[in-house]
């Protein structure tokens, strides 16, 4: 287990990081979201140079320690930009690689941090052969897979060690995904790393928060401009009050994710609970809020081009990747002692 981070970013630094990312990702301006970019890897080394791949990597391995708040802010901005990288899993993988003393892990890590190679992260079944719904698997140069239950991880670095079936996934059009079949004889055990698994789940929730935040902002702007019956529709209570509710809910889920990020970063005993709470907070609202924003946007929102659906698809997929809320509810029931407690 890594010790608490020695170099976490301040609130001001997080704000600067967000601003810089919005500039680079083209999300500083409101308006139409970018179409998903299949050529994302060409721009990835530049983002890596900003440090986004290194927030959860020990300083002795060239990273920033365990700056989960910075990673969560990044995940949120990448979500808002519909970025095609498998960022949540990539950060979880870098954490696992840097915390392990496996020599191959140490060898592959620098190229991942530099943005030259891409690591994907997923859950493998107990046979050690099948990992379903792995974010970024089709593009990945290496895989880190976690076994549910004990968080034991394996590393695969040789492309011949796995194959990817992409035929079943395609709802989220902003990222790639697939079911992975693994040759277990080529998998290197990395040991157990619950923090890596927590990071994966938390950053997926952060991704969804970024999606919600950007679409709330966009819909508020739209409601302030779009005129019907002689006035901006944002002046009608039926619209304004729902936007107020969504803004409050967006703030609540963002705070829950931030709280959990701080908790994981400081290796707090409450970290597992905080991550599960953040996941439930996001899953209970994110999809619902986005679907209602679409209603408030009207027919233009229903078009492919307007793009609100990209975010709905992505937020749903964030939940699916983390098996949220079911896994989070089970985790909370255990942590809180709601099961077998008589």
């Amino acid at each position: 287990m890594a010790a608490a981070s020695t170099a976490t970013a301040s609130a001001d630094e997080i704000r600067q990081l967000r601003d810089a990312l919005r500039g680079m990702l083209g999300t500083a301006e409101q308006g139409a979201p970018p179409a998903p970019d299949a050529g994302w890897r060409s721009g990835w080394p530049a983002l890596a140079e900003m440090g986004v791949t290194s927030f959860c990597v020990g300083e002795e391995k060239g990273g920033f320690g365990l700056d989960v708040r910075a990673a969560a802010a990044t995940a949120s901005e990448l979500g808002a930009a519909l970025h095609a990288s498998p960022y949540a899993g990539l950060v979880a993988a870098t954490r696992a690689l840097s915390a392990s003393d496996d020599p191959v892990a140490a060898e592959v890590l620098p190229a991942v941090l530099a943005g030259e190679r891409v690591a994907a992260f997923g859950r493998i079944d107990h046979s050690g052969r099948v990992a379903r719904v792995v974010d970024g698997a089709p593009d990945a140069d290496l895989l880190v897979l976690a076994r549910p239950g004990d968080d034991e991880l394996v590393l695969l670095t040789d492309g011949a060690a796995w194959s990817v079936d992409t035929s079943l996934e395609g709802f989220d059009v902003s990222r790639t995904c697939g079911d992975v079949t693994v040759d277990p004889s080529l998998a290197r055990p990395l040991g157990a790393d619950p923090v890596a698994v927590q990071l994966h789940r938390l950053l997926l929730a952060a991704d969804a928060v970024g999606c919600v935040r950007r679409m709330v902002d966009r819909t508020v702007a739209y409601a302030g401009e779009r005129v019907a019956f002689g006035r901006p529709i944002g002046g009608f209570q039926a619209v304004q009050h729902r936007l107020a509710d969504h803004a409050v809910r967006a703030r609540g889920m963002a705070l829950a994710v931030d709280e959990a990020a701080g908790s994981v970063a400081s290796a707090s005993p409450g970290a597992a609970r905080a991550v599960a709470v953040a996941e439930v907070a996001v899953s209970a609202s994110a999809t619902r809020v986005l679907h209602d924003l679409l209603q408030l946007t009207g027919a233009i929102g229903f078009t492919w081009e307007y793009g609100l659906h990209f975010f709905e698809r992505r937020v749903h997929h964030d939940a699916r990747l983390a098996a949220n809320p079911r896994a989070a509810v089970r985790a909370l029931a255990t942590i809180e002692g709601w099961t077998g407690a008589r």
Partner: protein, 390 residues
């Protein structure tokens, strides 16, 4: 670190004080004494909180404030009262004190503030009318200027505690010819004046906590005007009581309610004899409730952090109120669902179940009074989101 230790020492002192002297709160929202003896004890209790410096610590020192007062002390006092389920200070008394301190004449301060501190004066608000609730500025009670004062005629309603209040802050229209916000004056009114009739209203909980108040040619002197004539709107919208950090105690309230929800889920038995909490759907319900509580409490803490450094955004209060009160309702709804699905409630859960039934009914008082949720959403829409007035 030192400051934290001081706050914790203050907390321990307050906790011990409450344990020794604090009368129990019968149930959420119930505070009108049932007999003279109870009234004596409550007034003595409220007075003792001021005397100990646990209430009114933030007042100007010449009126009894503490030189060593910190806003976080207010939060600690309220948290400890909630934790002990003890009788809590009356919000409209604190608001009246705030308005008198801000707008009162020297005579009014000298006369009225000490009686608040001693528990001698309980205050009510004479604001809402049958046709002026959320739209308070449409109020019609008239204060007709006459020689040496005013004659007030009209009807007020939803005045909490009016049946045992000694004083009321009254809003009445002094100039019907100008803009509706401009012609309103605030008054301090002794509730025993001739022409004032108070009729308690029985609420859906079965209790009578608020009242109708009829004003029939009530004579007021110019010494009863609070602030300037025709400037009453500013007096009552001047902001929250100095004890605004009290809002932070909502977090503890929700935590205690969530603990009650889990206790209920353990005590509730399904027809097959199993405990509700052993079922996955109930656990999922608890998880969602917990997430809502944590979200609301993070919003509250975020707000309090800004209150404590005097850096609030105008929308912070509405966001915190909406999220607290709506979460309160959601918890009550979850509890009622659990109760509805239970064949029996174990002995250990009877008290909790009784509390939930009351709290469910009471939760609507929170989303209606003190600015209904719809008013909060409008404020958030305009002040936070920059949307046009609806």
């Amino acid at each position: 670190m030192r400051a934290d230790a001081e706050v914790e020492a203050f907390r321990a002192e307050v906790r011990a004080f409450i344990a020794e002297h604090g009368p129990a709160l019968r149930a959420e929202g119930l505070r009108v004494p049932r007999d003279a003896d109870e009234e004596r004890r409550i007034r003595a209790w409220l007075g003792s909180l001021y005397e100990a410096g646990y209430l009114g610590g933030g007042w100007p020192e010449e009126w009894g404030g503490r030189p060593d007062h910190l806003p976080v002390h207010d939060l600690v006092v309220m948290e400890e009262l909630i934790r002990a389920r003890a009788y809590r200070p009356l919000d409209q008394v604190m608001l009246a004190a705030h308005e008198i301190i801000e707008f009162g004449s020297d005579d009014q301060k000298r006369e009225l503030l000490p009686k608040i501190r001693s528990g001698e004066h309980v205050w009510c608000q004479l604001f809402s009318e049958p046709d002026a609730g959320s739209d308070l500025a449409s109020l019609r009670t008239r204060a007709e200027p006459v020689d040496g004062g005013f004659v007030v005629t009209g009807q007020k309603i939803w005045s909490t505690d009016a049946q045992w209040a000694d004083m009321g802050v009254l809003l009445a229209r002094t100039d019907p010819t100008v803009d509706r916000h401009a012609g309103i004056t605030a008054f301090v009114v002794p509730m025993g004046l001739p022409g004032i009739e108070v009729r308690p209203i029985r609420e859906m909980t079965g209790d009578a906590e608020f009242c109708e108040v009829f004003l029939d040619e009530v004579r007021l002197g110019s010494e009863h005007v609070l602030g300037e004539v025709d400037d009453g709107w500013r007096v009552v919208t001047s902001g929250l009581a100095s004890e605004r950090a009290f809002v932070g105690a909502n977090a503890l309230q929700l935590e205690m309610m969530f603990a009650d929800l889990v206790a209920l889920a353990r005590a509730a038995r399904l027809p097959d004899g199993s405990a509700a909490i052993d079922h996955e759907d109930v656990q999922a319900q608890l998880a969602v409730a917990l997430a809502r509580v944590e979200e609301a409490n993070l919003i509250t803490r975020d707000t309090v952090e800004r209150i404590l450094v005097d850096d609030e955004h105008p929308s912070d209060g509405p966001v915190a109120k909406l999220s607290y009160t709506e979460t309160n309702v959601a918890l009550c709804e979850a509890a009622l669902e659990l109760l509805a699905g239970a064949a029996t409630i174990g002995e250990e859960g009877r008290e909790v179940a009784e509390r939930w039934r009351h709290d469910f009914l009471w939760s609507r008082a929170l989303t209606i009074s003190g600015g209904a949720s719809e008013i909060m959403r409008g404020l958030i829409g305009r002040q936070l989101l920059g949307l046009p007035r609806a």
